[in-house]
């Protein structure tokens, strides 16, 4: 007869800790989370840590290669650009732009999307179906194109970019939240609550919303990666952040003419964009897998 650990009492964990356990077991996702945390910290505190002022131009140190190159200077760790500004400082500052602003737009889109999605999901009738059709329509226009249009109307600039991207991310949120709510409404525990006498608002607050936060986090992570790419793309196209802002996409565009002379001016900002998006995607994938595993159990 085999001996079991029958004295080992496993306490039942709530969904949040189950999710965290599943998530934690995926090493790639944890690495992504650490990178994500790193970028967030840099975005918040980076400007305080830059060795030089990102906008300070030093005419004596133009186009220095990174310090590991022969011609490089260790004072300018990653080299300088064509106006003599320190790359490292600019890259750090750029985190606040590309990553930080992407976070802001994603959170904004989340909040607005939650509002609209709840309205779309909970209401019925002609109004609702008309709204849903419009929504499906809005989904078909890509976020970047929408952002470009809005910027074309309002003119370039960072603030307009934020509104544009927020607006462009909105349909994904509304669509996802609406679908989750509709799915929840079909569940039997909602019917049980209704039979108990709960009205729509109570059902929403106590039953539906607590069950949608998992889907919300997944949606948020996907929107965040889109936001980072879109902000960088708009910066690259010259429609987003304007010079002399140290936004990563803009830095790549600025360095375009110097592609022969200083390839690292293009490689480095783009690399950071890539790693930032990669970290968010790792977290997003990890979350999706963790949610699926939890639901299967």
């Amino acid at each position: 007869m085999a001996k079991f650990q029958w004295l080992h009492q496993k306490t039942e964990h709530g969904p949040l800790s189950q999710l965290w356990d599943s998530f934690r077991q995926q090493h790639a996702a944890v690495v992504g989370l650490m990178l994500f945390g790193f970028f967030s910290l840099i975005a918040l505190f980076g400007p305080l840590l830059t060795p030089y002022d990102p906008y300070l131009q030093n005419p004596d140190a133009l186009l220095l290669p990174p310090s590991w190159d022969d011609l490089g200077d260790v004072r300018y760790l990653l080299g300088t650009d064509d106006l003599g500004r320190d790359q490292l400082s600019r890259l750090i500052k750029g985190a606040s732009y590309t990553f930080g602003i992407a976070l802001v737009t994603a959170i904004g889109a989340l909040l607005f999307g939650l509002l609209l999605g709840v309205l779309a999901g909970m209401s019925k009738g002609f109004r609702a179906s008309a709204f849903n059709h419009v929504l499906d329509l809005a989904l078909t226009i890509p976020s970047l194109l929408l952002a470009i249009i809005i910027v074309a109307i309002l003119g370039p600039g960072l603030v307009n970019t934020i509104w544009a991207i927020m607006l462009a991310l909105l349909p994904q949120f509304v669509h996802g939240i609406r679908n989750t709510i509709l799915q929840q409404l079909e569940q039997e525990y909602v019917i049980a609550y209704r039979l108990d006498g709960a009205n729509n608002w109570q059902i929403l607050r106590y039953v539906i919303l607590p069950n949608t936060w998992e889907q919300l986090t997944v949606l948020f992570s996907m929107a965040l990666s889109t936001a980072i790419l879109d902000i960088a793309a708009l910066g690259f196209l010259g429609l987003g952040a304007q010079a002399p802002a140290a936004e990563w996409g803009l830095m790549v565009a600025d360095a375009l003419d110097l592609i022969y002379l200083s390839p690292w001016s293009i490689a480095l900002p783009g690399l950071l964009i890539f790693i930032a998006v990669l970290s968010v995607n790792l977290v997003s994938d990890g979350l999706r897998t963790a949610v699926r595993k939890r639901q299967e159990n």
């Binding site: 419009v134 078909t140 194109l145 790419l229 690259f236 293009i266 998006v277 995607n281």
Partner: protein, 342 residues
């Protein structure tokens, strides 16, 4: 019953087009500057011409009449003049649009040919190192900012190795008259003596932009196919089919593939719009003379009639593809047909 569904879709399509034209019309007023200039594209209308145009565009009447006049003009083919070149916008669009279509078509082709088998492989060998490797590469490709990727490829292959040209569709040495607007067929149709060299040259120009543009849809295909296949593989009917005695590959091709491709097709429709946007950026970097580059230039030049026209065309394309994918999905999916009728 299926006709009902198709007719409903057609109604939706027309409704969407109307909404689109409404939006395009409103741009004429939303853009800064004189609406008359925005609509007509004539940068300096002389005093004789102005009242005629105002009359024609019904600019003195309410918005509804203006919109109707706008709609009539669109349907008749008068899309105004480009502020930059003073050429008809529709004419310029006819030149640049096929170039984008060609690029996007080749990218999609590559993504299908590469993406679906790799995705299936990643699903079948999900726990094997090969499956994991494919998923990892797909994730990496999915996270790439396309402009950076394009520039890296240019630095490596064009500047570094010199294998491919950095820009354009074909070398300026070759003069290919535009019959269809698509470069490769045009070369074959042109009947020039040096058509083989021209073909090779065009392919060399095509290769890098198509590859860069194909990166995103290929990774999307891999990821979606893998997810769909993993999901399908868990289903009861797959286990039943295996219990019937069918071999693994038989089950895969006969039952697995059909069911897995359905959600993939639907997702493809949604991803197409992203593909178009990425095409625009690629055109910018590779100086590919397509509608994306043209639109971006117009935006920079504040060329409002051109922006209006370009927007209309691109959005129409995206919506058309979406509805097409939707219809295809419903046609091939018995369950969706049931939902469409019920």
């Amino acid at each position: 019953m299926i006709w009902h569904y198709l007719i409903r879709r057609l109604f939706l399509l027309s409704f969407v087009f109307f909404a689109l034209t409404c939006f395009a019309f409103s741009l004429g007023h939303l853009f800064p500057g004189d609406p008359l200039v925005n609509f007509s594209g004539i940068s300096q209308p002389d005093d004789e011409l102005m009242p005629v145009l105002v009359q024609q565009y019904r600019l003195d009447d309410g918005y509804l009449q203006q919109y109707i006049a706008f709609l009539q003009r669109i349907l008749q083919g008068d899309w105004g003049l480009s502020l930059a070149s003073q050429q008809p916008v529709l004419h310029e669009l006819k030149l640049v649009f096929p170039a984008t279509l060609e690029l996007v078509a080749y990218a999609l082709l590559i993504s299908f040919v590469l993406g679906v088998p790799l995705g299936l492989l990643a699903a079948i060998k999900a726990n094997h190192w090969s499956g994991r490797a494919i998923s990892t590469i797909a994730l990496l490709g999915y996270s790439l900012p396309i402009f950076w990727w394009a520039l890296l490829m240019i630095m490596l292959f064009s500047i570094g190795l010199g294998w491919f040209p950095t820009s354009g569709r074909i070398s300026v040495l070759y003069e290919i008259p535009a019959v269809t607007g698509f470069m490769l067929p045009d070369i074959l149709l042109s009947g020039q003596t040096y058509w083989q060299a021209a073909l090779q040259d065009a392919i060399r120009h095509l290769w890098l932009p198509a590859f860069v543009l194909a990166t995103y849809p290929t990774t999307v295909m891999i990821r979606f196919t893998r997810d769909a296949m993993l999901n399908v593989w868990q289903q009861s009917y797959i286990k039943t089919a295996r219990a019937k005695g069918l071999s693994r590959s038989q089950v895969l091709y006969r039952h697995g593939l059909r069911n897995a491709m359905l959600p993939v097709m639907r997702q493809l429709g949604l991803q197409f719009s992203t593909l178009v946007t990425l095409a625009m950026i690629s055109e910018l970097i590779f100086s590919w003379p397509g509608i994306g580059l043209w639109l971006l230039d117009s935006i920079n030049q504040r060329n409002y009639p051109a922006i209006q026209g370009g927007l209309l065309v691109i959005s129409s394309l995206v919506i058309l593809v979406n509805i097409l994918m939707d219809v295809l999905h419903t046609l091939f999916n018995p369950l969706a047909r049931k939902q469409a009728n019920g």
